[in-house]
Symmetry: C2
Subunit: 435 residues, 2 copies
């Protein structure tokens, strides 16, 4: 590898868990990074909220509370954005790209909302915009989908892409504890943020689903295109019941091509679902992430690893940074945004799904027949039924075969109106099966 | 993505399983590939042994039995080499690179033996040499290691990278049948070649280990640097005994950094090993492949999928082809060979390993004490002992803790000389444990 003498200046915006690790690795591994890139990476500055507070391992002279001036500096060639959120991250990244600086970001919310605008700025200015760290932390997902599968046709991407919710569901499954108790515990252990809404309501996973769907299907998909349900209504009873069907419950991000009456569409959705215990995603526990990909020729692939945390996420950021830096040294460019297919987005109603419905029913003859009638009336065929308890505790659990989500949800709405159904206590979808 | 009008000419050398699928996908997915690349890919010719034999879906005019003339054609911009073996593949690839044509190959034996020479030709002529398909078929491994982990430090790569041997070992484990019977069955099913030597003796896995080690550790490692043992001596008794230790037997390719008295070295080795059932690699069965990577910051990653077969391997070839074609359209370049670290190769003697030793012993008091004495004399500490049978069928099974492979193998040699040890019937290493 030939060596270019000119150093490459890097600005890091944000110094939370990930930023701290990025700065540490940039410093500690400088010699390796230089050898791999063909030029030294030099940290020009770190933008933080409070520049007066000292940070271990960082020259105080590098700290600034003015990210805009840092990005604008002539000796900054590449910007690492780790502030998160939409503004000022969007404006800073756009300014960087428009002044010919490559950008590496871990900001899923921003990429899921504004990828088109930012990708265009990168393309117009012939620089790179990389965001491997935005989905599934250290696990290479973006690059395999964009590059390794560039000659294949992806049919489905299904993943566990949020560590907080996976930790909560795994703990509920293992200990039998309720959602509230496990969430509190997750907060104490640092697995859940003070305001866990983005995680537990599925917004974080929905952003990642949008990014995955965009890349997998060469179409622009934004977070608002993703159907989303969180895990806040999951009870320990649901996990118990799942076990009786040899399943566990996982918050899944699913992106797939579906065939509709109007032609091929993209479904992107996030919800807690029953997953059979023998499915590879069922064994992904705790804060780990995994993404399963089904492609026309490659078949089924699976990627597994740490989906969050400072060092793992920093590893993904550094990988992008080295590639962007090499492109600068060798006048190359990474892949551009590819949206040529422009497939339309399917509504959740159109998506073929399977349902698991648990309801409290009147303990009298004929109830099962009436319930089965509601499913049959909408052409939803029943795969399994379980009757439990008796008297005031009589319950009926129904698992359906595949049918349109509209037919399934309309059936549930009808069940809720039935006299003999006291309460529909739980409705979950079932994923990872072939029938 | 802007569109370049000039088509990109592709020559395919070899039309076996993979070549046939590459030609099919190039033809069937032409519109998608064109949109992703920004220029059409045009198949200029396919080199085969017998050009007079018709091939379904291929214009007979494209067939030629002269690969050298095909590679030399002015309208060929990129070459896909799927002939396999060293010559004429090496000469053809070198000619292509030296005439400014990018090359995609699935040829592990060639890359593992001649990567330096070929990488230099690619670099000198500013073209790409891609070989994702050479390791683990459809599973993206080369690209994640080269690019996604470009800013991290890989400590270990351990994988099941040969489908034939994994099929044989899985079948032996499941059915209890012997090696010979299962090998014959594998041949009938198309999982083993007529001459299975390259697979069952570990040569194929050793080539892949060399490629993985080169990339992971930024050093040049060739197949001859890889310590290698095949699976031909594995018996159904070994698999039975493995179960008693909650293990199974897998042919592993292991690449790791080890610390020796002379400093950091690379160990690259292939052998059948006991793997604990709870280890993720233990559950990879049949013709599937999986590669586990441990990196300083990313932690443990795992990649899983189909490691062989026409369509999966073609998917990897096409991914490389699209990236190389895009580089041609956008005047970019893929990553170059990176060997700056130039770490020395450790001999197997230096590598810390764990041993499983099964021996037939005399059924008399004091034997265990004598056997234990031989281990202790070489500072090899014993983790578990099992005594089985009695009389002429008395057996002793010892599992050791980690010690240098030299100490372990010297202990085994000493045991073989002992009067009270009738026969050392099986010696396997144990991998995938922390102690």
């Amino acid at each position: 590898m030939s060596e270019s003498s000119r150093p490459i200046g890097v600005a890091v915006l944000g110094m939370g868990n990930v930023g701290t690790e990025v700065v540490r690795i940039l410093t500690q591994n400088a010699a390796d990074l230089r050898a791999r890139i063909g030029a030294p990476l030099v940290l020009r500055g770190v933008a933080v909220r409070d520049a007066s507070r000292a940070r271990e391992g960082v020259d105080p002279a590098l700290l600034t509370d003015d990210p805009h001036s840092l990005v604008a500096r002539d000796d900054v060639d590449m910007v690492v954005e780790l502030i998160g959120g939409i503004e000022p991250a969007r404006a800073l990244i756009k300014t960087a790209l428009e002044s010919g600086k490559s950008v590496v970001t871990a900001n899923k919310a921003l990429i899921a909302a504004h990828s088109g605008e930012l990708a265009k700025a990168a393309e117009d200015n012939r620089v790179d915009l990389y965001f491997e760290a935005a989905v599934a932390g250290a696990i290479p997902v973006i690059r395999p989908l964009t590059q390794s599968l560039a000659g294949d046709s992806v049919n489905r991407v299904a993943g566990i892409v949020n560590g907080t919710t996976n930790y909560i569901l795994s703990e509920m499954d293992e200990t039998g504890a309720g959602y509230g108790k496990v969430l509190a515990e997750a907060g104490r252990l640092g697995y859940a943020e003070a305001d866990p809404t983005a995680d537990v309501e599925g917004y974080d996973a929905a952003s990642k689903a949008a990014i995955l769907a965009s890349i997998a299907f060469h179409s622009r998909v934004t977070a608002s295109d993703v159907y989303r349900e969180g895990i806040t209504k999951i009870t320990s009873k649901d996990l118990e019941a799942a076990k009786k069907f040899d399943c566990t419950v996982k918050l899944l991000a699913i992106c797939e091509r579906i065939q509709t009456a109007d032609g091929e569409k993209i479904s992107a959705r996030v919800y807690p679902a029953l997953v059979p215990l023998e499915h590879p995603l069922a064994t992904v526990n705790g804060a780990f992430n995994a993404v399963a990909v089904e492609a026309e020729n490659a078949g089924r692939l699976m990627f597994y690893g740490q989906g969050a945390g400072g060092a793992p996420t920093a590893s993904a950021v550094l990988g992008d940074l080295v590639m962007a830096a090499r492109n600068r040294v060798y006048h190359g460019r990474g892949p551009l945004e590819s949206t040529y297919a422009s497939l339309p987005i399917a509504s959740i109603d159109e998506v073929p799904t399977r349902y698991y419905v648990s309801m409290k029913v009147a303990d009298k003859p004929g109830v099962l027949q009436q319930v089965a009638g509601e499913f049959a009336a909408r052409d939803v065929s029943i795969a399994a039924v379980r009757q439990e308890g008796a008297g005031t505790d009589a319950r009926l659990i129904v698992v359906t075969h595949r049918a349109s989500d509209r037919a399934q949800s309309e059936t549930v709405a009808a069940l809720e109106q039935m006299d003999s159904v006291i309460k529909v206590s739980s409705v979950l979808r079932l994923e990872g099966t072939n029938d």
